[in-house]
């Protein structure tokens, strides 16, 4: 027993020793030899993360995203110097943020360029396409967002689910086509979510945060995590063959729900940041696009007897997060949350796509057949065509 304990300690110590050396090396580099490594010039860098147009003031959120502390010295609007205030103060440590308040009687829907100058005279700027009054978090607006979220998320998914009786009636080959169509839809949605994430990262996130890698990492983690837990769940509870389709339907609903959360975030943020005027046309586009998501949930359920209430529940799981997304995006937007949600959604969707493919393979023993290949192709094409509307 003692010998066993002793070897255990040895294992732990041998695991810790490399860390010890790593710490010593870092301390040495930062301390005694820090002069050795100082070549090149450390350039200050800031990111203008958010610009809000409030009552006769422009509020600018800046973050120090450079390698050294910075001092903010001046603000300008359209390259014209303006007196301004900075809260809490003008010295920013690495990654610290501050709010610059520029008193300015801005004109609605006109474009503005906001400039921030550091103490070394370097100016950073951000272009805003159209000044839109910043939204206040009140119940009315929350209601407005809920309506948008319902139109974009809940209703289209429910309409999509109405294809369920149709899918039930068709033959095996056609059914496989619809399952494959779902896979196509999902692959498209997953890629779409990732691209959306890359766009958010490019526009609002400093390169320092490695937005691209963050998206890929979270997508993979979400994929692996969900894949692992889904496998565990289905094997442990010993789900019967008939309940498996429902489990898959549930997984699809959750994946799509996360995706719609991301979509809601994008819409809420776009309204919140005043980047787009959300037109009826755009809502219609999103709605058409998301109807296909209902089909994705319906397909695996088609050959089982699921009560209507359960199907409606799945529809809500998939659609309702769009409402939550618009709230988060509109009231508490940050590029990080947007990227994290979009990436988790992408991982979840890829996971579901793989599960359906495995499911088809289990019943068919081969994937290369006309109905499946054409189904995947058709799914992606439908998504592409409806995405043009958005």
């Amino acid at each position: 027993m003692e010998i066993k304990n002793y070897s255990k300690v040895k294992t732990i110590v041998s695991g810790i020793i490399p860390f010890g050396f790593l710490v010593i090396m870092i301390l040495y580099l930062v301390g005694p030899s820090s002069n050795l490594l100082e070549f090149g010039v450390s350039l200050p860098d800031i990111s203008i993360e958010k610009v809000e147009f409030v009552n006769s003031e422009i509020h600018v959120t800046v973050r120090n995203t450079g390698p050294i502390p910075v001092k903010i010295a001046m603000a300008d609007v359209n390259d014209r110097i303006q007196p301004a205030a900075i809260e809490p103060d003008k010295s920013l440590e690495r990654f610290e943020t501050a709010l610059v308040r520029i008193p300015f009687s801005w004109n609605k829907s006109e474009p503005y360029t906001i400039g921030i100058t550091l103490d070394d005279g370097v100016r950073f700027d951000k272009f805003i396409q159209a000044a839109t009054p910043a939204i206040k978090s009140d119940y009315q607006l929350a209601g407005f967002f809920a309506i948008i979220g319902t139109y974009v998320g809940v209703i289209p998914v429910m309409i999509g689910l109405l294809w369920l009786p149709f899918i039930k009636r068709i033959g095996k080959n056609k059914y496989n086509f619809f399952l494959a169509l779902t896979v196509g839809l999902l692959i498209f949605l997953g890629i779409d979510a990732m691209l959306e994430g890359f766009e958010v990262s490019k526009e609002n996130l400093s390169a320092n945060f490695n937005g691209g890698l963050l998206i890929i990492t979270i997508t993979l983690l979400s994929f692996l995590g969900l894949y692992y837990s889904a496998e565990k769940l289905t094997s442990r509870t010993g789900l019967t063959a008939s309940s498996k389709p429902f489990a898959i339907g549930l997984m699809i609903a959750i994946g799509i729900g996360l995706h719609n959360l991301g979509e809601g975030l994008a819409i809420g943020a776009a309204i919140g940041l005043g980047q787009v005027a959300l037109s009826t046309f755009l809502i219609v586009g999103f709605a058409l696009h998301n109807t296909t998501e209902g089909i994705a949930i319906a397909s695996p359920l088609a050959k089982t007897k699921s009560p209507v209430s359960k199907i409606i529940l799945l529809g809500l799981i998939a659609g309702a997060p769009a409402i939550l997304g618009t709230w988060i995006g509109g009231f508490f937007y940050s590029p990080y949350t947007a990227i994290v949600f979009l990436s988790i959604g992408a991982g979840a969707i890829f996971q579901v796509a793989l599960v359906i493919l495995k499911w088809i393979y289990q019943s068919e023993q081969k994937l290369v057949q006309a109905s499946i290949v054409s189904g995947i192709g058709a799914g992606m094409l439908i998504m592409y065509l409806t995405s043009i509307l958005v």
């Binding site: 903010i72 110097i81 809260e87 809490p88 103060d89 003008k90 100058t117 005279g121």
Partner: protein
């Protein structure tokens, strides 16, 4: 009893209120709004200037040199000018920029002589790059400060020429790349007075200049005499019916033109100051690079009068000031009540 309670509670409320007020800083916007903040104020206009260069002093500071007389009776004026290029100067509150200087300032000292005087400039280059002094005016080729570059780390050269012609002229470094040497601040004003002195006046020098602090070949700041918004914050005090004479030189780089507009008045303008008769009576002149002249005017009515670039972009980046005519009220200099 009731009134006592009200009184006490008023004091409590009021003191709590004024305590909160103490933590707040205030500033005034260009349109006169008073804004409060719990943070720092970013304001090149109204914060007390801590900048090293004093535009107030430069405005009426003329250097006549060390005066002696030659055997033939010619007045000799000796000046020592030292060039440096390692100074970091606060050119606008909170903004630090590497200025290249003649005698430590941008613009360099205003050199003044009378037509026909012998001017001797003992030039020492203490910078890390080659520099020269190139005077606009009439002089021998060897005194032109173009081909005779003066080496860094203590190189010396003596420029010697007869002052002329009458007028206001710029001097500047003429080492390549020229734009770099000028825009960093190596320039100043050289005034040649006529032998029969001009009419007595309140005289001042204004160098219209700018700074490209982020090196994108566009100026970030403009000013009359280096510090943006300085004379708006500290109005120039003059008297009614007194003749004002301004020697104005445009040294702005990158932008093809600059201009000068005077409010509530017109001025007699002498381009380059070479003629003793004004060429025009106007409130607006346009100046290209190193274009300069003499403005003369007097104010009839007391009050505050703006002067600024009517290329409004420049004035909104600092090239704007105020003449305070005959106003004995000292408090109005703080600038807080500007716009009222």
């Amino acid at each position: 009893m009731l009134s006592a309670i009200i009184g006490v509670s008023t004091i409590i409320v009021f003191s709590a209120f004024s305590e909160a007020q103490l933590e707040q800083k205030i500033f005034v916007t260009h349109s006169g709004q008073v804004i409060q903040t719990s943070g720092d104020v970013l304001d090149p206009v109204y914060t007390a200037s801590t900048v090293e260069f004093d535009p107030e002093k430069y405005l009426r500071d003329f250097n006549y040199g060390r005066i002696s007389e030659s055997e033939s009776g010619q007045t000799i004026r000796d000046f020592t000018i030292i060039a440096e290029d390692d100074k970091i100067q606060e050119i606008s509150p909170g903004i630090f920029y590497n200025v290249w200087t003649f005698n430590g300032t941008v613009p360099g000292p205003t050199i003044r002589a009378t037509e026909g005087d012998l001017v001797r400039i003992h030039f020492i280059n203490n910078g890390s790059k080659s520099h020269t002094m190139h005077f606009h005016g009439i002089h021998p080729a060897a005194m032109d400060g173009v081909f005779e570059t003066v080496g860094p780390g203590g190189g010396q050269f003596t420029y010697e020429f007869e002052a002329g012609p009458v007028g206001v002229h710029p001097y500047h470094c003429h080492v390549m790349p020229l734009e770099e040497h000028i825009s960093h601040g190596l320039y100043g004003v050289f005034i040649v007075d006529p032998k029969i002195a001009r009419q007595q006046a309140d005289e001042m020098v204004m160098v219209l200049n700018g700074f490209d602090t982020d090196f994108d070949a566009e100026n970030n700041f403009y000013a009359a005499n280096t510090i943006p918004f300085y004379y708006q914050h500290h109005p120039i005090q003059i008297k009614t019916n007194e003749l004002i004479r301004i020697y104005v030189v445009n040294m702005v780089e990158f932008d093809p033109i600059n201009n000068f507009h005077l409010h509530g008045n017109l001025f007699q303008y002498y381009p380059t100051g070479t003629a003793l008769v004004p060429s025009t009576f106007t409130d607006m002149i346009t100046l290209s690079q190193t274009e300069r002249g003499i403005m003369e005017f007097q104010y009839k009515y007391p009050g505050k009068y703006l002067f600024h670039a009517h290329k409004v972009e420049f004035s909104e980046k600092g090239w704007v000031g105020i003449f305070l005519v005959d106003n004995p009220d000292q408090t109005s200099q703080t600038g807080i009540d500007y716009g009222n």
